[in-house]
């Protein structure tokens, strides 16, 4: 195994009854890399994410995350990863500081350590003064930046971001990506899913999944060159749409 790889996936299959959600996936993610994980709704992304987060076991194949095996060491994996999504991030009716204490507690950090990290984090974000406000009263942009920082509280080596930026204003979105770049520079690996192809351009490498298969994996520059298009949006449409159309034709033939 390559020492620089923080995630390795070899011949990963995941079967639900007769349905194959993931078919022979093979990829590696390098330490400190920003890895974009793209695919249409229902392509099988969530299935893979769950396996990588230690929440589901593969049907077959070899998968390690942060050096731990996804069949045996799921608890160790959970301690070494952070997770944030737009849908679920913070408890709306708890205050900023209560959310931090709660998360820190779950990860087994001591109270003093939590408070030290909290002060550092909130001062950095410029929101120490409003630490006693409940989350529901914060603007969406602040919530997302806070949720991202919180996902790093226990110093994980990988962060999974599941559609993290939906609905935020473009200034906040750029600031959010600045935070992602800053985290990646400290060696944290970023594994991100998004439906928005301009964000795919921000990644070091992206994979595109169609019907449970990874059909492309490379840097955005290489993919655009390979498909002779100007944007990742066009790359994605070429790959994902071609497949959908064939499927539809097959269905109507039946």
């Amino acid at each position: 195994m390559n020492n620089d790889s923080i995630i390795t996936v070899k011949h990963l299959y995941k079967q639900f009854g007769s349905f194959t959600a993931n078919k022979d996936l093979n990829f590696e993610v390098k330490r400190g890399e920003i890895f974009g994980f793209l695919g249409a709704n229902g392509a099988g992304k969530t299935t893979t994410m769950k396996i990588l987060c230690g929440l589901s076991k593969p049907t077959s194949g070899e998968v390690t995350v942060a050096g731990f095996d996804v069949y045996q060491d799921t608890e160790k994996i959970k301690r070494n990863i952070g997770y944030m999504s737009q849908k679920f991030s913070l408890y709306e009716d708890l205050s900023v500081i209560e959310n931090i204490v709660f998360y820190g507690g779950i990860y087994g950090l001591g109270y003093k350590e939590i408070m030290r990290s909290a002060k550092e984090m909130l001062t950095g974000l410029g929101i120490w003064d409003i630490r006693k406000k409940v989350i529901a009263d914060l603007p969406l942009g602040w919530k997302q930046k806070l949720a991202f920082s919180l996902a790093m509280l226990h110093k994980p080596s990988i962060i999974f971001l599941d559609e993290p930026t939906g609905g935020v204003d473009p200034v906040t979105r750029r600031q959010f990506w600045d935070m992602i770049y800053a985290a990646a520079e400290t060696g944290i690996t970023i594994f991100v899913t998004t439906h928005y192809m301009d964000e795919a351009e921000y990644c070091d490498r992206v994979s595109i999944m169609v019907d449970g298969v990874i059909v492309a994996l490379d840097s955005p520059q290489q993919l655009k060159a390979q498909y002779q298009v100007k944007t990742m949006d066009e790359v994605f449409l070429k790959l994902a749409r071609a497949k959908t159309e064939t499927t539809n034709q097959n269905q109507s033939a039946l």
């Binding site: 709704n41 204003d169 439906h195 928005y196 192809m197 351009e201 921000y202 955005p220 749409r241």
Partner: protein, 310 residues
């Protein structure tokens, strides 16, 4: 007043407690036009939709749809519009077919009568017609909701964030459907938080904190962007970010994947030429690029915030 206008919002305002959700908004949508309201969550898009669809009363100002007043003539408006709310609002425990029949019946029509309008879309969900709406995938729910909003042959269609959370392929298909519907003469008001969808509208209004920042054709808005934009590449992006950020202001230097996007005035080209000469060791390449819709939105947000602070 524009005589062709199908939707008119005249100084509309609405507050929730201390929060001013819609702040003296003026705009109009022409008959047969696709008009996009573009802005982040919390900008006031849904409140505006709810006023125009007669589900919420404004605090002040007036609005009309097809010449009918949104307060007085709500019954006429409701008969003549289709509304697809942002939150999936069909009956989860009814099947696809049952939902569609229900909406047709409520509007005293039948699915058969206006089938030509929805045929295109319905055929895609027909294989699942006996499945309960709650068990459909996101893309399928979206298509069913659109069918239900169209089944009574409305003249004006209100779509509140129809593409949020939908993948890029389904989004393209959705916009293609809207353009086919437009050809039948339908007026469409659609909202989205995603800047890249602006180019698919005839005209757009940028909305932020309850205010319309600008209205125009997408290309005109992009053309009116007041700054130069350059894409810069280097073997040491961090160095370039720090140095150029110090010269031009950090808000004008933005990392975009393996490139940087740099904003500035007409002197920017010279600044970059000099900078790359001074730092030959970092292989700095630069090239002028066209501003995007998002760049325009950010610039308008800044000037709007400046005005607020004055």
């Amino acid at each position: 007043m524009n005589e062709k206008a199908s939707i008119i919002s005249n100084n509309l305002s609405r507050s929730y407690g201390k929060t001013l959700a819609v702040d003296a908004i003026n705009f109009s949508v022409d008959e047969g036009e696709i008009f996009g309201l573009i802005g982040p969550d919390g900008a006031g898009k849904t409140t505006l939709f709810r006023i125009l669809t007669t589900l919420l009363l404004p605090d002040s100002g007036s609005a009309s749809v097809m010449g009918y007043d949104c307060v007085k003539d709500y019954k006429q408006i409701r008969k003549n519009i289709g509304y697809m709310p942002g939150k999936f609002s069909l009956y989860q425990d009814l099947t696809v077919k049952e939902n569609l029949n229900f909406y047709a019946t409520v509007f005293q029509t039948t699915v058969k009568e206006n089938y030509h309008l929805i045929e295109d879309i319905y055929r895609q969900i027909e294989p699942f017609k006996n499945r309960r709406a709650g068990k459909l995938s996101g893309g399928m729910k979206q298509k069913l909701a659109l069918c239900c909003a169209l089944v009574h042959k409305p003249k004006v269609l209100f779509l509140d964030e129809p593409t949020t959370g939908v993948d890029a392929v389904s989004r393209v298909e959705f916009w293609e459907m809207l353009h086919r519907l437009k050809k039948t003469g339908l007026t469409i008001l659609v909202s989205t938080p995603y800047m890249d969808e602006a180019v698919r509208c005839d005209r757009v209004g940028f909305i932020q904190k309850g205010k319309i920042l600008q209205i125009g054709k997408p290309q005109d808005i992009v053309d009116s962007f007041p700054m130069m934009v350059y894409a810069v590449k280097s073997n040491n992006p961090k160095f370039v970010i720090n140095q150029l950020g110090a010269i031009l202001g950090s808000e004008n230097v933005f990392r975009f994947g393996n490139e940087l996007h740099i904003y500035g005035d007409k002197m920017l080209h010279e600044t970059l030429a000099q900078f790359s000469l001074n730092h030959k060791e970092y292989d700095i390449e630069y090239q002028s690029i066209e501003a995007g819709v998002e760049d325009c939105f950010i610039e308008l947000m800044k000037s709007n915030n400046d005005q607020e602070n004055e």
